[in-house]
């Protein structure tokens, strides 16, 4: 049995909200195996987004350890964390967060440019990724010219730009209607079938059901995995 790709041990995350102290995570332990498709579910404010942020190394735990691909990421410096994210993690957000001033192709190419991939290769790989998510004919369109579902697909293509070992998604269908959401869900399934490890945080029952494993959270704790 190979070691889990994500290994979280007794992680806590507190932060200040005005004068109060919020305990977003209160001792979470979790493993995600390579090739797995995990959905983290729970009511609003249970800490699932916070947990995702910690896995994605865009936040640091107050205590506890986080390992991704066997590497300790919880104590990385900003520069190391950024570089790690660039090459190992793909992030998909509820709000897509595409650069409105770039075309679909350019949006996908952005992380590649950062990773110093040559222009020719960038263009080829971006085009391939867009084709993979079903948007081969929309390369030159700006986000404002794309529907919500199309924008999210571009965002997913962008997340896959540097061939990450881990794909994280925070409410990816949150802004989409049922039909479009379904398209995204099937895309995730295809990705997982092709070998991508996926962790999603979601309210969407359909999306959660499509995952192989469900992790329930409540009040900053995992109640069943």
């Amino acid at each position: 049995m190979s070691s889990p790709i994500v290994s979280i041990r007794d992680v806590r995350r507190d932060y200040a909200l005005g004068a109060e102290r919020v305990h977003a995570l209160q001792g979470v332990t979790l493993d995600v195996e390579r090739g797995d498709y995990v959905a983290i579910v729970g009511p609003s404010g249970c800490g699932k987004s916070t947990l995702l942020n910690l896995i994605g190394v865009i936040d640091h735990p107050t205590s506890g350890t986080v390992e991704i691909g066997g590497k300790r990421v919880d104590a990385m410096s900003d520069r190391e964390a950024t570089s790690f994210r660039l090459r190992n993690i793909g992030f998909v957000f509820q709000r897509f967060y595409l650069m409105p001033i770039l075309s679909a192709l350019e949006n996908v190419a952005l992380p590649m440019a950062e990773a110093k991939v040559g222009r020719q290769e960038r263009q080829e790989r971006s085009a391939k990724l867009l084709a993979y998510v079903g948007l081969g004919n929309r390369e030159r369109h700006r986000p404002s010219e794309l529907s919500g579902g199309e924008q999210q697909r571009v965002a997913i293509a962008r997340a896959l730009a540097n061939g990450p070992s881990l794909l994280l998604a925070d409410e990816p269908t949150g802004e989409l209607d049922a039909r479009t959401g379904a398209e995204i869900i099937s895309l995730f399934q295809r990705l997982n079938a092709d070998g991508t490890t996926i962790v999603v945080v979601t309210h969407d029952e359909d999306l959660a059901s499509a995952a192989r494993r469900k992790v329930h959270m409540r009040d900053g704790k995992v109640v069943d995995a």
Partner: protein
């Protein structure tokens, strides 16, 4: 990609970008003008002094050329002493005075220089010939106009006016042999020149064998300062002024303008800096979410800062180019005002465009553009990613 992002970002808010560019252009124009003012006087004066190749000027001790009515006695003796120095190539004695010409029932007055036409360095011949004969005189266009005369005309010239007795020491009929432009002439100045011997013959005895000024050319390769020191030692009645000294003197008199240029230049630079900072800060605050996302997908802090700084620099650059044109126009206007200084040679410019000065102004502006963008960019790129995303979600 970063440049493309910066460009796209600036175009996105066109009117805002344009406004900032305009503001920077105005600051750039003022900065350029102040840089031109700081160096203009000195440079154009130096060019003027060197225009005829005379490196040294001799005036009565303690005075500047034509600053006072004082004169140096013994032209012949002084010239003889000067000739003993092998480094001295040419000596041009000049005597200043004033003339009066009767035109109908009008009295036209003007200044006159008694010169040696072979070695003179005071005027440029426009047409006709030098006053090589005893009855020849050359005049500038302004005087010619006032006299209502033409080259070739004969005029009755008087000099050495005594206001007490209302008489002249000498009067002669002279032929206008040429039209000239006096290099050190001020605007609206009636000026003429004749042979020094002619002027002497018309002047009072007390004025004979005297000179107001000597202009001296040194041999090529000789050290003008050393010759100056030698002259100072040999001729105690005389002050020798090198170009460097003359410029220093003028600098001291016009130090006010240099200081003004420094203050206004600094203020312009500061305001330009403030503008770019404000624009970058506003732009960056709006894009807090975008910046957080860039960081989330793995773009390094340095690259985020670079992209934002490029925007600041682009605005500074565009503003600088626009400001160059604006600055040149304003400088001409201001120069025209200052050129009306009484007694100021027409050839002197207060605002002189020198490419070197322009480059330094441009460089300063770009540097301030970079500096202005760096801090807000750094702050924005350093915000905690998760918090920024959360705040964006709330917004």
């Amino acid at each position: 990609m970063r440049a493309a992002l910066a460009q796209a970002s600036l175009i996105r808010h066109r009117s805002r970008t344009l406004l900032a560019v305009l503001g920077v252009a105005v600051a750039a124009a003022m900065l350029l003008d102040m840089v031109m003012l700081a160096t203009g006087m000195r440079e154009s004066f130096r060019e003027l002094l060197l225009s005829r190749g005379f490196e040294l000027r001799l005036a009565p001790r303690g005075t500047l050329p034509f600053d006072t009515d004082a004169t140096m006695p013994g032209v012949g003796a002084i010239t003889a002493i000067l000739r003993t120095n092998p480094d001295i190539r040419e000596i041009s004695p000049v005597m200043g005075g004033s003339i009066h010409v009767r035109v109908g029932n009008r009295d036209v007055s003007g200044s006159v220089l008694g010169i040696d036409p072979a070695v003179q360095g005071d005027y440029q011949l426009l047409s006709g010939r030098d006053p090589t004969t005893a009855d020849a005189i050359v005049v500038n266009d302004y005087l010619l106009g006032r006299l209502g005369a033409r080259a070739g005309d004969t005029i009755s010239v008087a000099t050495g006016y005594d206001p007490q007795t209302r008489t002249y020491s000498g009067q002669r009929r002279l032929v206008i042999t040429g039209r000239v432009k006096f290099i050190y002439g001020a605007t609206e100045q009636s000026s003429s020149a004749m042979r020094r011997e002619t002027l002497e013959s018309m002047s009072d005895v007390s004025k004979r064998d005297r000179a107001s000024l000597f202009m001296v050319k040194v041999r090529k390769g000789a050290d003008a300062e050393r010759v100056r020191d030698w002259i100072d030692a040999q001729l105690p009645n005389v002050t020798a002024i090198s170009i460097a000294t003359a410029i220093a003197q003028v600098d001291a008199r016009l130090s006010y303008f240099r200081q003004l240029s420094l203050i206004l230049g600094a203020v312009s630079l500061f305001v330009g800096f403030l503008l770019v900072t404000t624009l970058v800060t506003v732009s960056v605050n709006e894009r807090a979410g975008e910046i957080a996302v860039m960081r989330a997908i793995g773009v390094s802090k340095a690259h985020v800062i670079q992209q934002i700084v490029i925007e600041g620099v682009a605005i500074s650059l565009a503003g600088a180019v626009l400001g160059l044109g604006l600055g040149l126009v304003t400088a001409r206007y201001l120069n025209a005002i200052l050129s009306a200084f009484p007694g100021l040679p027409m050839a002197i410019d207060f605002f002189l465009f020198q490419p070197r000065a322009a480059w330094s102004a441009l460089g300063l502006l770009i540097a301030s553009g970079i500096g202005a963008g760096v801090y807000p960019a750094w702050r924005a790129a350093s915000l905690p990613i998760a918090e920024s995303l959360r705040r964006e979600a709330i917004a």
